[in-house]
């Protein structure tokens, strides 16, 4: 089953007089259960592609089907809904909210489901998700009280809590020391083994080895290795 399909997906930016072609007519298909690594140097356009796939940005032209929905022309609110329901994000810098406990960070996507998930259910689902990344006993701690690796586990738990169709990871080990980075990669590996679809941006060929498919980005052009 196809999770992601893009056709001639293009993103250009206007920088003064010059037009920057961040992404040129990318065709990408991600099937359920894939673990795709997007490789490329900085400025190659891989983050642009991930933003488009994550519905944080809209393409200049081209089409994008997320499962059965053509999303390239949807409105802000519908995009927000789809982000909350179908996509899980893992960021390089974790992007957790500092003032709230780990489990509340994990529950955040559930809170934005228009009040359909009650407080108790939110907590229960968040705890399950934290248990899955091995951090149940730290649920009440704030992110500032956790190590870098633990923070990234919380972020992964947050990405998993909605049972998204795809997890988009942007340099998930970029801010971690190498030992911790290996732990996180092993965790992503396990999740993939359990059937989770992952698209990961990285510039590290070693990490790309965990992936089942590797795509390379260069000057905005996507090519599958």
């Amino acid at each position: 089953m196809t999770v992601i399909r893009t056709e001639a997906l293009t993103r250009t930016y206007q920088m003064g007089d010059t037009t920057v072609h961040a992404l040129r007519a990318a065709n990408l298909v991600v099937e359920r259960g894939d673990f795709v690594a997007l490789m490329g140097a900085s400025g190659s356009g891989k983050s642009t592609l991930l933003s488009l796939l994550g519905l944080l940005d809209r393409p200049t032209s081209g089409s994008y089907w997320l499962e059965d929905v053509e999303v390239s022309t949807l409105g802000r609110n519908r995009l927000a809904e789809l982000r909350g329901e179908r996509i899980g994000f893992i960021f390089q810098n974790f992007n957790l909210l500092a003032r709230i406990a780990a489990w509340e960070n994990v529950a955040l996507p559930l809170a934005y489901r228009g009040g359909t998930v009650g407080h108790g259910a939110q907590k229960k689902m968040a705890m399950e998700s934290l248990a899955r990344v091995g951090l149940a006993e730290r649920a009440g701690h704030r992110p500032t009280e956790l190590s870098g690796g633990q923070r990234q586990r919380v972020a992964i738990a947050r990405a998993l809590v909605t049972r998204p169709v795809v997890i988009l990871a942007d340099e998930p080990t970029g801010n971690l020391d190498s030992a911790t980075g290996v732990e996180i990669m092993n965790l992503l590996h396990e999740l993939h083994a359990e059937g989770v679809t992952i698209v990961m941006v990285t510039h590290d060929p070693v990490l790309a080895r965990h992936a089942t498919r590797v795509c390379a980005m260069r000057d905005g052009i996507l090519s599958e290795a």
């Binding site: 944080l56 609110n77 955040l108």
Partner: protein
């Protein structure tokens, strides 16, 4: 987000910057408190005026000589209002059924060998009717709220008649206590006393009276009195005729303006009032009706309300700018947070609700604290206004509502700005 989740979020973020939140609220607190205290002052002043003029009936016209500033002090101008004029008014105006007149002066009173300095009042024969209508005093032991008739004020003997007033008959009526003091147990009725060099026959003694207002009861004694026909008092004890303060009673309260015009015509002719170059009359008398006082009061209340509206809007602007400023800072500080929220599925309206609720929470707590502070400040305001400040109940919802509105109005822009952030840029914000 559910309202509970939103509230939890808003509380938490205010709590994280508790000092900043408190300082931001201060503007609203002071604004709301001052509105409540000011309205209490206005209300207190109005209540005091109400109490003063409560006794003025709807069919009554107060008439007095005009006072004007001359050589740095207020002095009566033009002609005096005389006893004769008071009598003639009834003839001149068919709508006037009676004119209450009174003069007062201290007089040395002698009976046999005892003598007293007494404050004597010259009255018309209707004095007891006026007393009954006024309702500020009643016989001791009088059933509360029971209607008062003129005759219940008489203890012994009788009051003087209209004929006796016209004739200037040498008769007088004593107050209960004054009679005890002067006559030492003798029967006062029929006794002859001396008012300075004038012989006078006692025809009555008033019943023992007490003030109906409990607060007044121990301040002035209505039983110390000596009442004479006004004509008698003027003829025997004044070398020069005094100016008299009058209360004219119209037979029909609805035609009081007509009655007023009739009295005006009479007095203008009698006093030969001139007109100035704009044809306005240079009256030397002043007339006041309840309608006039109410009109003045409404005018004063209007001015006061305008002042308060101005104050409320100043506090609204000051408090609101404070809130907007802090919310804008907060939105900037939390750009990343907004980005994260957007990434995990928050819609624009979720972000708006979150920041708007924070602003409203700020203004609502500020408003609440302001209400408490305002109520506590009322006694202080009262001391600045000679003890007349009275909480106006409407001022609480009014000022609190204004505070809430401030939060909504000035919180809206920062909230909208937050909701329009671009998710990618917000996530990248350092």
């Amino acid at each position: 987000m559910s309202i509970l989740d939103l509230l939890r979020t808003a509380f938490r973020s205010l709590n994280a910057n508790a000092l900043r939140a408190a300082l931001t609220m201060l503007g609203v607190v002071i604004g709301v408190a001052s509105v409540i205290a000011m309205l209490a002052l206005g209300n207190g002043a109005r209540a005091a005026v109400d109490a003063t003029f409560k006794s003025l009936g709807a069919n009554q016209i107060q008439i007095g000589q005009k006072f004007a500033l001359q050589d740095g002090e207020y002095q009566p101008i033009g002609h005096k209002l005389t006893y004769t004029e008071g009598l003639e008014m009834i003839e001149a105006s068919p709508l006037i059924e009676r004119v209450d007149m009174s003069v007062r002066r201290t007089v040395k009173t002698r009976y046999g060998r005892s003598s007293l300095e007494i404050r004597a009042t010259g009255n018309t024969a209707e004095a007891l009717i006026a007393l009954a209508a006024d309702g500020t005093v009643q016989p001791v032991g009088w059933e509360a709220g029971a209607a008062l008739a003129p005759q219940v004020f008489i203890g012994e003997g009788r009051f003087f008649s209209a004929d006796e007033v016209l004739a200037g008959a040498p008769v007088c009526v004593f107050g209960y206590q004054t009679a005890l003091d002067l006559f030492n147990g003798d029967n006062p009725i029929g006794a002859t006393i001396w008012l300075e060099r004038t012989r006078c026959t006692v025809i009555g003694v008033l019943a023992e009276l007490e003030s109906t207002d409990l607060e007044q009861r121990y301040q002035s004694d209505p039983n110390e009195a000596l009442i004479l026909p006004i004509s008698t008092l003027i003829q025997t004890l004044y070398e020069e005729e005094p100016s008299i303060f009058m209360v004219a009673h119209a037979s029909d309260a609805n035609r009081i303006d007509e009655a007023k015009a009739q009295i005006t015509d009479y007095l203008r002719e009698k006093h030969a009032i001139q007109q100035d170059e704009t044809d306005a009359y240079l009256d030397d008398f002043e007339m006041t009706t309840r309608k006039d006082i109410l009109g003045q009061q409404q005018e004063a209340a209007q001015t006061f309300s305008m002042l308060l509206a101005a104050m409320a809007s100043v506090s609204l602007i000051v408090g609101g700018i404070g809130i907007m400023n802090v919310m804008l800072v907060s939105v900037t500080e939390r750009t990343r947070e907004i980005g994260v929220r957007l990434a995990v599925g928050a819609k624009g309206r979720d972000i708006i609700s979150q920041f708007l609720l924070e602003a409203v929470l700020l203004s609502a707590s500020g408003g609440l604290a302001g209400v408490v502070l305002g109520i506590l400040a009322i006694p202080l305001a009262a001391t600045l206004n000679q003890g007349t400040a009275l909480l106006l109940p409407e001022s609480i919802p009014l000022s609190f509502g204004v505070a809430l509105l401030t939060g909504v109005l000035f919180g809206l822009y920062p909230a909208l700005r937050a909701s329009r952030l671009d998710p990618i840029e917000a996530l990248r914000y350092e």
